[in-house]
Protein backbone atom coordinates (compact mmCIF):
# COMPACT_ATOMS: atom_id res chain seq x y z
CA UNK A 1 0.00 0.00 0.00
CA UNK A 2 1.22 3.44 -0.71
CA UNK A 3 -0.68 4.71 2.30
CA UNK A 4 -1.62 7.98 0.67
CA UNK A 5 -4.39 8.00 -1.85
CA UNK A 6 -3.99 10.22 -4.85
CA UNK A 7 -7.59 11.03 -5.58
CA UNK A 8 -7.18 14.21 -7.51
CA UNK A 9 -4.64 16.49 -9.10
CA UNK A 10 -6.42 19.42 -7.52
CA UNK A 11 -3.73 21.45 -5.70
CA UNK A 12 -6.09 21.90 -2.76
CA UNK A 13 -6.00 18.19 -1.98
CA UNK A 14 -2.25 17.79 -2.40
CA UNK A 15 -1.22 18.70 1.13
CA UNK A 16 -2.89 18.08 4.47
CA UNK A 17 -6.63 17.86 4.33
CA UNK A 18 -8.33 19.88 7.03
CA UNK A 19 -11.73 21.30 7.75
CA UNK A 20 -11.60 24.03 5.10
CA UNK A 21 -10.69 21.58 2.36
CA UNK A 22 -13.53 19.25 3.28
CA UNK A 23 -16.01 22.11 3.46
CA UNK A 24 -14.84 23.54 0.13
CA UNK A 25 -15.17 20.16 -1.55
CA UNK A 26 -18.62 19.67 -0.04
CA UNK A 27 -19.63 23.12 -1.22
CA UNK A 28 -18.46 22.32 -4.74
CA UNK A 29 -20.41 19.06 -4.75
CA UNK A 30 -23.57 20.74 -3.50
CA UNK A 31 -23.28 23.58 -6.01
CA UNK A 32 -22.71 21.19 -8.93
CA UNK A 33 -25.61 19.00 -7.78
CA UNK A 34 -27.98 21.93 -7.40
CA UNK A 35 -26.85 23.38 -10.70
CA UNK A 36 -27.54 20.14 -12.53
CA UNK A 37 -31.02 19.79 -11.04
CA UNK A 38 -32.00 23.37 -11.83
CA UNK A 39 -30.42 23.10 -15.28
CA UNK A 40 -32.44 19.97 -16.02
CA UNK A 41 -35.63 21.72 -15.00
CA UNK A 42 -34.87 24.67 -17.23
CA UNK A 43 -33.63 22.42 -20.03
CA UNK A 44 -36.89 20.50 -20.21
CA UNK A 45 -38.80 23.76 -20.34
CA UNK A 46 -36.36 25.21 -22.89
CA UNK A 47 -36.60 22.15 -25.11
CA UNK A 48 -40.41 22.15 -25.07
CA UNK A 49 -40.60 25.87 -25.68
CA UNK A 50 -38.06 25.78 -28.50
CA UNK A 51 -39.67 22.74 -30.11
CA UNK A 52 -42.96 24.58 -29.86
CA UNK A 53 -41.46 27.55 -31.63
CA UNK A 54 -39.95 25.38 -34.36
CA UNK A 55 -43.29 23.62 -34.80
CA UNK A 56 -45.25 26.90 -35.04
CA UNK A 57 -47.02 26.44 -31.71
CA UNK A 58 -46.62 27.87 -28.24
CA UNK A 59 -45.29 25.09 -26.02
CA UNK A 60 -45.94 25.41 -22.28
CA UNK A 61 -47.60 28.70 -21.38
CA UNK A 62 -49.73 28.27 -18.28
CA UNK A 63 -47.48 27.53 -15.30
CA UNK A 64 -45.51 30.61 -14.31
CA UNK A 65 -44.16 33.29 -16.65
CA UNK A 66 -43.69 31.80 -20.15
CA UNK A 67 -44.58 28.42 -18.65
CA UNK A 68 -41.22 28.17 -16.97
CA UNK A 69 -42.65 26.30 -13.99
CA UNK A 70 -44.15 23.60 -16.21
CA UNK A 71 -41.41 21.11 -15.35
CA UNK A 72 -41.93 21.62 -11.66
CA UNK A 73 -45.67 21.05 -12.09
CA UNK A 74 -44.93 17.88 -14.05
CA UNK A 75 -42.50 16.74 -11.40
CA UNK A 76 -45.03 17.23 -8.61
CA UNK A 77 -47.66 15.43 -10.63
CA UNK A 78 -45.35 12.47 -11.26
CA UNK A 79 -44.34 12.38 -7.63
CA UNK A 80 -47.92 11.98 -6.45
CA UNK A 81 -48.97 9.39 -9.01
CA UNK A 82 -49.35 5.78 -8.04
CA UNK A 83 -46.14 3.80 -8.21
CA UNK A 84 -46.76 0.58 -10.09
CA UNK A 85 -44.49 -2.43 -10.10
CA UNK A 86 -45.54 -4.99 -12.71
CA UNK A 87 -46.44 -8.42 -11.45
CA UNK A 88 -43.97 -10.26 -13.67
CA UNK A 89 -41.11 -7.91 -13.00
CA UNK A 90 -37.91 -8.66 -11.17
CA UNK A 91 -38.69 -6.36 -8.27
CA UNK A 92 -35.21 -5.53 -7.01
CA UNK A 93 -33.65 -4.92 -10.41
CA UNK A 94 -36.75 -3.01 -11.48
CA UNK A 95 -36.27 -0.61 -8.60
CA UNK A 96 -32.48 -0.43 -9.03
CA UNK A 97 -32.46 0.46 -12.73
CA UNK A 98 -33.56 4.14 -12.53
CA UNK A 99 -30.74 4.89 -10.12
CA UNK A 100 -28.21 3.18 -12.38
CA UNK A 101 -29.32 5.65 -15.04
CA UNK A 102 -29.29 8.72 -12.86
CA UNK A 103 -26.13 8.38 -10.78
CA UNK A 104 -23.64 8.05 -13.68
CA UNK A 105 -25.09 11.25 -15.13
CA UNK A 106 -24.22 13.08 -11.92
CA UNK A 107 -20.79 11.49 -11.54
CA UNK A 108 -19.71 12.24 -15.08
CA UNK A 109 -20.47 15.91 -14.52
CA UNK A 110 -17.93 16.03 -11.69
CA UNK A 111 -14.97 16.19 -14.08
CA UNK A 112 -16.23 19.20 -16.03
CA UNK A 113 -14.36 22.45 -15.29
CA UNK A 114 -17.08 25.04 -14.71
CA UNK A 115 -15.08 28.23 -14.47
CA UNK A 116 -11.85 29.87 -13.48
CA UNK A 117 -9.42 32.31 -14.99
CA UNK A 118 -7.50 30.47 -17.66
CA UNK A 119 -5.75 33.55 -19.03
CA UNK A 120 -3.28 34.24 -16.26
CA UNK A 121 -3.84 31.69 -13.50
CA UNK A 122 -4.36 28.40 -15.40
CA UNK A 123 -7.83 27.99 -13.97
CA UNK A 124 -6.83 28.23 -10.34
CA UNK A 125 -8.90 30.22 -7.90
CA UNK A 126 -7.93 31.17 -4.37
CA UNK A 127 -10.64 30.94 -1.76
CA UNK A 128 -9.96 31.13 1.97
CA UNK A 129 -6.27 30.80 1.32
CA UNK A 130 -6.70 27.57 -0.58
CA UNK A 131 -5.84 27.28 -4.26
CA UNK A 132 -8.27 25.07 -6.09
CA UNK A 133 -10.03 24.44 -9.39
CA UNK A 134 -13.64 25.24 -10.19
CA UNK A 135 -14.54 21.63 -10.83
CA UNK A 136 -15.75 18.98 -8.43
CA UNK A 137 -12.92 16.56 -9.16
CA UNK A 138 -9.88 16.41 -11.38
CA UNK A 139 -9.03 12.72 -11.17
CA UNK A 140 -5.84 11.43 -12.83
CA UNK A 141 -7.94 9.37 -15.24
CA UNK A 142 -9.89 12.50 -16.20
CA UNK A 143 -11.92 11.94 -19.29
CA UNK A 144 -11.81 8.16 -18.82
CA UNK A 145 -14.17 8.64 -15.89
CA UNK A 146 -16.69 10.06 -18.33
CA UNK A 147 -16.29 7.04 -20.62
CA UNK A 148 -16.57 4.67 -17.65
CA UNK A 149 -19.75 6.39 -16.48
CA UNK A 150 -21.29 6.27 -19.91
CA UNK A 151 -20.62 2.53 -20.00
CA UNK A 152 -22.21 2.10 -16.58
CA UNK A 153 -25.24 4.07 -17.75
CA UNK A 154 -25.96 1.28 -20.25
CA UNK A 155 -26.93 -0.92 -17.31
CA UNK A 156 -29.75 1.39 -16.29
CA UNK A 157 -31.41 1.13 -19.68
CA UNK A 158 -30.69 -2.55 -20.20
CA UNK A 159 -31.86 -3.70 -16.78
CA UNK A 160 -34.94 -1.47 -16.85
CA UNK A 161 -36.13 -3.22 -19.98
CA UNK A 162 -35.26 -6.68 -18.79
CA UNK A 163 -36.67 -6.30 -15.27
CA UNK A 164 -40.02 -5.08 -16.56
CA UNK A 165 -40.84 -8.63 -17.58
CA UNK A 166 -42.60 -7.42 -20.69
CA UNK A 167 -41.95 -7.69 -24.40
CA UNK A 168 -41.62 -4.14 -25.69
CA UNK A 169 -39.40 -2.84 -22.91
CA UNK A 170 -37.05 -5.78 -23.49
CA UNK A 171 -36.88 -5.05 -27.22
CA UNK A 172 -36.24 -1.39 -26.47
CA UNK A 173 -33.52 -2.11 -23.99
CA UNK A 174 -31.72 -4.61 -26.24
CA UNK A 175 -31.76 -2.00 -29.00
CA UNK A 176 -30.55 0.64 -26.60
CA UNK A 177 -27.66 -1.33 -25.26
CA UNK A 178 -26.55 -2.44 -28.73
CA UNK A 179 -26.64 1.18 -29.83
CA UNK A 180 -24.83 2.55 -26.81
CA UNK A 181 -22.11 -0.11 -26.87
CA UNK A 182 -21.58 0.40 -30.62
CA UNK A 183 -21.23 4.15 -30.42
CA UNK A 184 -19.02 4.06 -27.35
CA UNK A 185 -16.21 2.86 -29.61
CA UNK A 186 -16.47 5.92 -31.87
CA UNK A 187 -16.80 8.13 -28.82
CA UNK A 188 -13.62 6.70 -27.32
CA UNK A 189 -11.68 7.12 -30.57
CA UNK A 190 -12.71 10.77 -30.80
CA UNK A 191 -11.61 11.29 -27.20
CA UNK A 192 -8.29 9.60 -28.03
CA UNK A 193 -7.53 12.39 -30.54
CA UNK A 194 -8.01 14.98 -27.82
CA UNK A 195 -5.86 13.01 -25.38
CA UNK A 196 -3.18 12.88 -28.07
CA UNK A 197 -3.00 16.63 -28.65
CA UNK A 198 -3.28 17.39 -24.94
CA UNK A 199 -0.78 14.78 -23.83
CA UNK A 200 -2.85 13.81 -20.80
CA UNK A 201 -6.24 12.66 -19.59
CA UNK A 202 -7.02 15.39 -17.10
CA UNK A 203 -9.92 17.61 -18.18
CA UNK A 204 -8.29 20.56 -16.45
CA UNK A 205 -5.13 20.14 -18.51
CA UNK A 206 -7.24 19.94 -21.65
CA UNK A 207 -8.78 23.33 -20.91
CA UNK A 208 -5.40 24.80 -20.00
CA UNK A 209 -3.97 23.59 -23.32
CA UNK A 210 -6.89 25.12 -25.22
CA UNK A 211 -6.57 28.43 -23.41
CA UNK A 212 -3.08 28.96 -24.85
CA UNK A 213 -2.30 31.60 -27.47
CA UNK A 214 -4.33 30.93 -30.62
CA UNK A 215 -3.64 31.39 -34.31
CA UNK A 216 -3.31 34.86 -35.90
CA UNK A 217 -4.35 36.42 -32.61
CA UNK A 218 -8.09 35.87 -33.11
CA UNK A 219 -8.70 32.19 -33.79
CA UNK A 220 -8.72 30.36 -30.45
CA UNK A 221 -6.61 27.27 -29.90
CA UNK A 222 -9.65 25.11 -29.29
CA UNK A 223 -9.37 21.41 -29.93
CA UNK A 224 -12.13 21.60 -32.54
CA UNK A 225 -9.57 23.48 -34.67
CA UNK A 226 -6.40 21.79 -33.42
CA UNK A 227 -7.74 18.32 -34.21
CA UNK A 228 -9.28 19.43 -37.47
CA UNK A 229 -13.05 19.26 -36.93
CA UNK A 230 -13.39 15.54 -37.71
CA UNK A 231 -13.16 14.24 -34.10
CA UNK A 232 -15.67 16.92 -33.09
CA UNK A 233 -18.20 15.76 -35.67
CA UNK A 234 -17.66 12.12 -34.75
CA UNK A 235 -17.99 12.89 -31.07
CA UNK A 236 -21.12 14.97 -31.55
CA UNK A 237 -22.84 12.26 -33.60
CA UNK A 238 -21.71 9.40 -31.35
CA UNK A 239 -22.63 11.47 -28.31
CA UNK A 240 -26.15 12.04 -29.61
CA UNK A 241 -26.48 8.31 -30.22
CA UNK A 242 -25.11 7.59 -26.76
CA UNK A 243 -27.81 9.83 -25.30
CA UNK A 244 -30.53 8.05 -27.28
CA UNK A 245 -31.72 11.43 -28.41
CA UNK A 246 -33.37 12.05 -31.78
CA UNK A 247 -32.46 11.20 -34.52
CA UNK A 248 -31.10 8.15 -32.67
CA UNK A 249 -34.06 7.53 -30.39
CA UNK A 250 -34.93 4.07 -31.69
CA UNK A 251 -34.89 3.03 -28.08
CA UNK A 252 -38.25 4.65 -27.56
CA UNK A 253 -39.67 4.55 -31.05
CA UNK A 254 -43.32 4.98 -30.12
CA UNK A 255 -44.67 3.46 -33.31
CA UNK A 256 -42.79 0.22 -32.73
CA UNK A 257 -42.12 -0.14 -29.03
CA UNK A 258 -44.81 1.76 -27.12
CA UNK A 259 -42.52 3.74 -24.77
CA UNK A 260 -39.33 1.73 -25.11
CA UNK A 261 -37.44 0.53 -22.08
CA UNK A 262 -39.43 2.60 -19.61
CA UNK A 263 -42.88 1.54 -20.77
CA UNK A 264 -43.68 -0.16 -17.46
CA UNK A 265 -42.36 2.62 -15.30
CA UNK A 266 -44.62 5.12 -13.65
CA UNK A 267 -44.57 7.82 -11.02
CA UNK A 268 -41.25 8.83 -9.50
CA UNK A 269 -39.27 6.03 -11.15
CA UNK A 270 -40.31 7.26 -14.56
CA UNK A 271 -39.40 10.77 -13.45
CA UNK A 272 -35.90 9.52 -12.60
CA UNK A 273 -35.42 8.17 -16.12
CA UNK A 274 -36.71 11.40 -17.56
CA UNK A 275 -34.36 13.36 -15.33
CA UNK A 276 -31.42 11.13 -16.25
CA UNK A 277 -32.06 11.60 -19.95
CA UNK A 278 -31.94 15.38 -19.77
CA UNK A 279 -29.12 15.35 -17.27
CA UNK A 280 -27.11 13.21 -19.68
CA UNK A 281 -27.80 15.74 -22.43
CA UNK A 282 -26.44 18.54 -20.26
CA UNK A 283 -23.44 16.47 -19.16
CA UNK A 284 -22.66 15.47 -22.73
CA UNK A 285 -22.85 19.10 -23.88
CA UNK A 286 -20.61 20.15 -21.00
CA UNK A 287 -18.10 17.45 -21.94
CA UNK A 288 -18.14 18.58 -25.59
CA UNK A 289 -17.50 22.14 -24.42
CA UNK A 290 -14.59 20.90 -22.29
CA UNK A 291 -13.06 18.68 -24.94
CA UNK A 292 -13.51 20.73 -28.08
CA UNK A 293 -14.67 24.26 -27.36
CA UNK A 294 -12.13 25.41 -24.81
CA UNK A 295 -14.23 24.83 -21.71
CA UNK A 296 -14.43 27.94 -19.54
CA UNK A 297 -11.50 29.62 -21.25
CA UNK A 298 -12.11 33.00 -22.80
CA UNK A 299 -11.15 36.64 -22.38
CA UNK A 300 -11.84 38.31 -19.04
CA UNK A 301 -13.43 41.55 -20.13
CA UNK A 302 -13.58 43.15 -16.68
CA UNK A 303 -11.11 41.54 -14.35
CA UNK A 304 -12.07 43.24 -11.10
CA UNK A 305 -14.85 45.23 -9.53
CA UNK A 306 -13.89 47.41 -6.58
CA UNK A 307 -10.64 45.58 -5.98
CA UNK A 308 -12.40 42.24 -5.86
CA UNK A 309 -11.09 39.89 -8.53
CA UNK A 310 -13.85 38.46 -10.69
CA UNK A 311 -11.71 37.13 -13.53
CA UNK A 312 -12.75 33.59 -12.58
CA UNK A 313 -16.41 34.46 -13.06
CA UNK A 314 -15.81 35.14 -16.76
CA UNK A 315 -14.88 31.49 -17.10
CA UNK A 316 -18.30 30.59 -15.76
CA UNK A 317 -19.94 33.02 -18.19
CA UNK A 318 -18.07 31.67 -21.23
CA UNK A 319 -18.78 28.10 -20.16
CA UNK A 320 -22.50 28.76 -19.93
CA UNK A 321 -22.65 30.55 -23.26
CA UNK A 322 -20.94 27.62 -24.99
CA UNK A 323 -23.11 25.12 -23.14
CA UNK A 324 -26.24 27.00 -24.14
CA UNK A 325 -25.29 27.04 -27.82
CA UNK A 326 -24.73 23.27 -27.76
CA UNK A 327 -28.01 22.59 -25.97
CA UNK A 328 -29.79 24.71 -28.56
CA UNK A 329 -28.20 22.59 -31.30
CA UNK A 330 -29.37 19.40 -29.61
CA UNK A 331 -32.97 20.64 -29.58
CA UNK A 332 -32.60 21.92 -33.12
CA UNK A 333 -31.47 18.48 -34.31
CA UNK A 334 -34.43 16.90 -32.56
CA UNK A 335 -36.85 19.23 -34.29
CA UNK A 336 -35.25 18.80 -37.70
CA UNK A 337 -34.05 15.25 -38.29
CA UNK A 338 -36.24 12.17 -38.72
CA UNK A 339 -35.37 9.00 -36.86
CA UNK A 340 -32.81 6.56 -38.25
CA UNK A 341 -33.72 3.05 -39.22
CA UNK A 342 -31.95 0.34 -37.24
CA UNK A 343 -29.68 -0.86 -40.06
CA UNK A 344 -28.81 2.74 -40.93
CA UNK A 345 -27.87 3.30 -37.32
CA UNK A 346 -25.54 0.31 -37.22
CA UNK A 347 -24.04 1.11 -40.63
CA UNK A 348 -23.33 4.67 -39.62
CA UNK A 349 -21.70 3.60 -36.39
CA UNK A 350 -19.59 0.68 -37.52
CA UNK A 351 -18.87 1.35 -41.17
CA UNK A 352 -18.49 5.12 -41.14
CA UNK A 353 -17.84 6.68 -37.74
CA UNK A 354 -15.41 4.12 -36.34
CA UNK A 355 -13.18 3.88 -39.46
CA UNK A 356 -13.19 7.66 -39.88
CA UNK A 357 -12.40 8.28 -36.21
CA UNK A 358 -9.65 5.66 -36.25
CA UNK A 359 -8.16 6.93 -39.51
CA UNK A 360 -8.18 10.53 -38.33
CA UNK A 361 -6.60 9.52 -35.04
CA UNK A 362 -3.78 7.76 -36.90
CA UNK A 363 -3.39 10.83 -39.11
CA UNK A 364 -2.96 13.02 -36.02
CA UNK A 365 -0.48 10.48 -34.65
CA UNK A 366 1.51 10.67 -37.90
CA UNK A 367 1.57 14.47 -37.69
CA UNK A 368 2.74 14.29 -34.09
CA UNK A 369 5.49 11.80 -34.91
CA UNK A 370 6.51 13.90 -37.90
CA UNK A 371 6.78 16.99 -35.72
CA UNK A 372 8.84 15.03 -33.24
CA UNK A 373 11.26 13.78 -35.89
CA UNK A 374 11.33 16.99 -37.87
CA UNK A 375 9.77 15.59 -41.04
CA UNK A 376 8.14 17.82 -43.60
CA UNK A 377 4.59 18.37 -42.40
CA UNK A 378 3.17 18.73 -45.91
CA UNK A 379 4.76 15.45 -47.02
CA UNK A 380 3.50 13.62 -43.93
CA UNK A 381 -0.01 14.98 -44.48
CA UNK A 382 0.00 14.05 -48.14
CA UNK A 383 1.34 10.53 -47.64
CA UNK A 384 -1.04 9.79 -44.74
CA UNK A 385 -4.10 11.16 -46.50
CA UNK A 386 -3.33 9.20 -49.68
CA UNK A 387 -2.78 6.01 -47.64
CA UNK A 388 -6.02 6.45 -45.75
CA UNK A 389 -7.87 7.40 -48.90
CA UNK A 390 -6.78 4.10 -50.45
CA UNK A 391 -7.63 2.19 -47.27
CA UNK A 392 -11.04 3.87 -47.19
CA UNK A 393 -11.71 2.92 -50.81
CA UNK A 394 -10.69 -0.66 -50.05
CA UNK A 395 -13.02 -0.74 -47.05
CA UNK A 396 -15.90 0.74 -49.03
CA UNK A 397 -15.32 -1.83 -51.74
CA UNK A 398 -15.29 -4.64 -49.18
CA UNK A 399 -18.52 -3.40 -47.61
CA UNK A 400 -20.19 -3.11 -51.01
CA UNK A 401 -19.13 -6.62 -52.01
CA UNK A 402 -20.21 -8.00 -48.67
CA UNK A 403 -23.60 -6.40 -49.02
CA UNK A 404 -24.02 -7.70 -52.59
CA UNK A 405 -23.22 -11.28 -51.63
CA UNK A 406 -25.32 -10.87 -48.48
CA UNK A 407 -28.65 -10.03 -50.09
CA UNK A 408 -28.53 -10.79 -53.79
CA UNK A 409 -32.02 -12.12 -53.18
CA UNK A 410 -33.14 -8.65 -54.24
CA UNK A 411 -36.53 -7.08 -53.66
CA UNK A 412 -36.93 -4.66 -50.76
CA UNK A 413 -33.32 -5.16 -49.79
CA UNK A 414 -33.39 -2.25 -47.35
CA UNK A 415 -36.28 -3.68 -45.41
CA UNK A 416 -34.78 -7.18 -45.45
CA UNK A 417 -31.48 -5.83 -44.23
CA UNK A 418 -33.26 -4.02 -41.44
CA UNK A 419 -34.83 -7.25 -40.26
CA UNK A 420 -31.68 -9.26 -40.60
CA UNK A 421 -29.51 -6.72 -38.89
CA UNK A 422 -31.73 -6.43 -35.89
CA UNK A 423 -30.10 -8.48 -33.14
CA UNK A 424 -33.37 -8.84 -31.27
CA UNK A 425 -34.44 -12.33 -30.32
CA UNK A 426 -37.91 -13.65 -30.86
CA UNK A 427 -38.32 -14.80 -27.31
CA UNK A 428 -38.95 -12.45 -24.44
Amino acid sequence: MTGQLVLAADPMLAGDIGQVEVLLTLAKVVVAFAFLLVAVMLMIWFERKLLGGMHQRFGPTIAGPFGVLQTMADGIKLFFKEDLVPDRSDRFVFKLAPYLSLIPAFLAFAIVPLGGDFNSRAGEVEWWGRITYLQVADPPVGILLFLAMSSVAVYGVMLAGWASGSKYPLLGSVRASAQMVSYEAALGLAVASIVLVTGGLSTHDMVVAQAAEGYFGIIPRWNIIVTGLVPFIVFAIAGTAELNRPPFDLVEAEQELVGGFHTEYSSIRFALFFLAEFMNTITMSAVIVTLFLGGPSGPALVSEIGGFGIAWAWGVVWFFIKLFVLLFCFVWMRATLPRFRYDQLMNLGWKLLIPVALGWFLFLVALEVGRDRGWNTMAVTLVTLVTFGLAGLLLAQAVRRGRRSGDHSGGGSGETAARADEPVGKEA
Partner: protein, 186 residues
Protein backbone atom coordinates in the same frame (compact mmCIF):
# COMPACT_ATOMS: atom_id res chain seq x y z
CA UNK B 1 -7.58 5.49 5.07
CA UNK B 2 -6.00 2.84 2.86
CA UNK B 3 -7.11 0.09 5.24
CA UNK B 4 -10.67 1.41 5.27
CA UNK B 5 -10.83 1.52 1.47
CA UNK B 6 -9.35 -1.97 1.31
CA UNK B 7 -11.95 -3.26 3.78
CA UNK B 8 -14.81 -1.77 1.77
CA UNK B 9 -13.44 -3.13 -1.50
CA UNK B 10 -12.83 -6.55 0.00
CA UNK B 11 -16.36 -6.80 1.40
CA UNK B 12 -17.77 -5.65 -1.96
CA UNK B 13 -15.72 -8.21 -3.86
CA UNK B 14 -16.38 -11.14 -1.55
CA UNK B 15 -20.10 -10.43 -1.36
CA UNK B 16 -20.16 -10.11 -5.14
CA UNK B 17 -18.24 -13.32 -5.64
CA UNK B 18 -20.54 -15.27 -3.34
CA UNK B 19 -23.51 -13.67 -5.08
CA UNK B 20 -22.28 -14.79 -8.51
CA UNK B 21 -22.13 -18.40 -7.37
CA UNK B 22 -25.18 -18.40 -5.15
CA UNK B 23 -27.78 -16.56 -7.21
CA UNK B 24 -30.03 -18.76 -9.32
CA UNK B 25 -30.96 -16.11 -11.83
CA UNK B 26 -28.19 -15.58 -14.43
CA UNK B 27 -28.91 -11.86 -14.68
CA UNK B 28 -28.48 -11.45 -10.94
CA UNK B 29 -25.23 -13.41 -11.15
CA UNK B 30 -24.00 -11.04 -13.86
CA UNK B 31 -24.87 -8.05 -11.68
CA UNK B 32 -22.94 -9.53 -8.76
CA UNK B 33 -20.02 -9.97 -11.15
CA UNK B 34 -20.18 -6.23 -11.87
CA UNK B 35 -20.03 -5.60 -8.13
CA UNK B 36 -16.89 -7.72 -7.87
CA UNK B 37 -15.31 -5.91 -10.81
CA UNK B 38 -16.01 -2.53 -9.22
CA UNK B 39 -14.31 -3.80 -6.07
CA UNK B 40 -11.25 -4.74 -8.12
CA UNK B 41 -11.27 -1.26 -9.66
CA UNK B 42 -11.25 0.21 -6.14
CA UNK B 43 -8.21 -1.89 -5.27
CA UNK B 44 -6.46 -0.65 -8.39
CA UNK B 45 -7.08 2.94 -7.32
CA UNK B 46 -5.76 2.08 -3.87
CA UNK B 47 -2.52 0.99 -5.52
CA UNK B 48 -2.29 4.16 -7.65
CA UNK B 49 -3.14 2.27 -10.81
CA UNK B 50 -5.78 4.78 -11.88
CA UNK B 51 -5.69 3.89 -15.51
CA UNK B 52 -6.22 0.20 -14.81
CA UNK B 53 -9.17 1.10 -12.58
CA UNK B 54 -10.83 3.13 -15.32
CA UNK B 55 -10.15 0.46 -17.92
CA UNK B 56 -11.48 -2.18 -15.55
CA UNK B 57 -14.82 -0.38 -15.45
CA UNK B 58 -14.90 0.55 -19.14
CA UNK B 59 -13.87 -2.84 -20.50
CA UNK B 60 -15.09 -5.40 -17.99
CA UNK B 61 -18.19 -3.75 -16.58
CA UNK B 62 -18.97 -1.71 -19.68
CA UNK B 63 -18.37 -4.23 -22.43
CA UNK B 64 -17.84 -7.79 -21.27
CA UNK B 65 -20.63 -8.11 -18.72
CA UNK B 66 -22.94 -6.23 -21.06
CA UNK B 67 -22.12 -8.90 -23.61
CA UNK B 68 -22.94 -11.60 -21.03
CA UNK B 69 -26.28 -9.93 -20.36
CA UNK B 70 -26.92 -9.70 -24.08
CA UNK B 71 -26.37 -13.40 -24.54
CA UNK B 72 -28.46 -14.24 -21.48
CA UNK B 73 -31.35 -12.13 -22.75
CA UNK B 74 -31.10 -13.29 -26.35
CA UNK B 75 -30.98 -16.96 -25.40
CA UNK B 76 -33.92 -16.52 -23.08
CA UNK B 77 -32.21 -18.28 -20.19
CA UNK B 78 -32.90 -15.39 -17.87
CA UNK B 79 -35.16 -17.46 -15.63
CA UNK B 80 -34.00 -19.36 -12.59
CA UNK B 81 -32.38 -22.63 -13.63
CA UNK B 82 -33.60 -26.08 -12.90
CA UNK B 83 -30.83 -27.34 -10.64
CA UNK B 84 -31.93 -30.85 -9.72
CA UNK B 85 -30.65 -32.50 -12.89
CA UNK B 86 -26.93 -32.55 -13.52
CA UNK B 87 -26.33 -31.20 -17.07
CA UNK B 88 -23.11 -33.17 -17.65
CA UNK B 89 -22.55 -36.48 -15.86
CA UNK B 90 -19.95 -36.30 -13.13
CA UNK B 91 -19.80 -32.52 -13.30
CA UNK B 92 -20.53 -31.82 -9.65
CA UNK B 93 -18.08 -34.18 -7.97
CA UNK B 94 -15.43 -33.00 -10.43
CA UNK B 95 -16.22 -29.36 -9.62
CA UNK B 96 -15.82 -30.11 -5.91
CA UNK B 97 -12.43 -31.75 -6.51
CA UNK B 98 -11.13 -28.93 -8.70
CA UNK B 99 -12.44 -26.33 -6.28
CA UNK B 100 -10.67 -28.05 -3.40
CA UNK B 101 -7.47 -28.18 -5.44
CA UNK B 102 -7.67 -24.46 -6.21
CA UNK B 103 -8.33 -23.66 -2.57
CA UNK B 104 -5.33 -25.80 -1.60
CA UNK B 105 -3.04 -24.00 -4.04
CA UNK B 106 -4.16 -20.57 -2.91
CA UNK B 107 -3.91 -21.59 0.73
CA UNK B 108 -0.40 -22.87 0.21
CA UNK B 109 0.65 -19.66 -1.47
CA UNK B 110 -0.82 -17.54 1.29
CA UNK B 111 0.55 -19.60 4.15
CA UNK B 112 4.02 -20.32 2.82
CA UNK B 113 4.87 -16.89 1.46
CA UNK B 114 5.87 -14.52 4.22
CA UNK B 115 4.19 -11.15 4.51
CA UNK B 116 1.40 -11.87 2.05
CA UNK B 117 -1.21 -11.26 4.71
CA UNK B 118 0.49 -8.16 6.03
CA UNK B 119 0.65 -6.70 2.54
CA UNK B 120 4.34 -5.83 2.64
CA UNK B 121 5.94 -6.23 -0.74
CA UNK B 122 8.66 -8.80 -1.09
CA UNK B 123 10.83 -7.48 -3.85
CA UNK B 124 12.94 -4.50 -3.02
CA UNK B 125 13.55 -3.73 -6.68
CA UNK B 126 11.78 -1.09 -8.69
CA UNK B 127 8.50 -2.20 -10.17
CA UNK B 128 7.41 -1.27 -13.63
CA UNK B 129 4.83 1.24 -12.40
CA UNK B 130 6.93 2.89 -9.71
CA UNK B 131 8.44 6.28 -10.18
CA UNK B 132 7.70 9.89 -10.90
CA UNK B 133 5.75 9.63 -14.14
CA UNK B 134 2.03 8.90 -14.11
CA UNK B 135 0.92 5.31 -14.28
CA UNK B 136 -0.31 5.79 -17.84
CA UNK B 137 3.06 7.05 -19.03
CA UNK B 138 4.94 4.22 -17.37
CA UNK B 139 2.53 1.63 -18.65
CA UNK B 140 2.74 3.04 -22.16
CA UNK B 141 6.53 2.85 -22.08
CA UNK B 142 6.51 -0.72 -20.83
CA UNK B 143 3.81 -1.93 -23.22
CA UNK B 144 5.09 -0.22 -26.35
CA UNK B 145 8.78 -0.48 -25.52
CA UNK B 146 9.71 -3.69 -23.80
CA UNK B 147 6.61 -5.64 -24.79
CA UNK B 148 5.86 -4.01 -28.14
CA UNK B 149 6.12 -7.29 -29.99
CA UNK B 150 3.77 -9.10 -27.61
CA UNK B 151 1.26 -6.25 -27.89
CA UNK B 152 1.34 -6.38 -31.68
CA UNK B 153 0.94 -10.17 -31.68
CA UNK B 154 -2.02 -9.91 -29.30
CA UNK B 155 -3.62 -7.24 -31.47
CA UNK B 156 -3.21 -9.43 -34.55
CA UNK B 157 -4.64 -12.41 -32.68
CA UNK B 158 -7.72 -10.47 -31.60
CA UNK B 159 -8.28 -9.11 -35.11
CA UNK B 160 -8.02 -12.60 -36.56
CA UNK B 161 -10.47 -13.86 -33.94
CA UNK B 162 -12.99 -11.18 -34.87
CA UNK B 163 -12.63 -11.81 -38.59
CA UNK B 164 -12.89 -15.54 -37.96
CA UNK B 165 -16.07 -15.11 -35.95
CA UNK B 166 -17.62 -13.04 -38.73
CA UNK B 167 -16.62 -15.58 -41.38
CA UNK B 168 -17.95 -18.50 -39.35
CA UNK B 169 -21.30 -16.94 -38.50
CA UNK B 170 -22.00 -15.35 -41.85
CA UNK B 171 -24.17 -17.46 -44.07
CA UNK B 172 -24.78 -16.82 -47.73
CA UNK B 173 -28.34 -15.72 -48.40
CA UNK B 174 -30.64 -18.39 -49.73
CA UNK B 175 -32.01 -17.78 -53.17
CA UNK B 176 -35.68 -18.06 -52.10
CA UNK B 177 -35.62 -14.49 -50.83
CA UNK B 178 -35.84 -15.31 -47.15
CA UNK B 179 -33.73 -13.19 -44.85
CA UNK B 180 -30.64 -14.96 -43.54
CA UNK B 181 -31.47 -15.92 -39.99
CA UNK B 182 -29.38 -14.65 -37.16
CA UNK B 183 -26.68 -12.85 -39.10
CA UNK B 184 -25.42 -10.36 -36.59
CA UNK B 185 -25.38 -6.70 -37.50
CA UNK B 186 -22.92 -5.50 -34.94
Amino acid sequence: MAEAVFAVAAVLMLAGAIGVVASRNPVHAALFLVQTLVGVALLFILNDAHFLAAVQVVVYAGAIVILFLFVIMLLGVDKAEELRVEPIFGQRPLAAVIGAALAAVLGTVILTTADVLSGIRQSGGERALDGEATDIERMGRVLFGEFAFAVEITAALLTIAVVGAVVLTRRAARSDGAAPAGSGGG
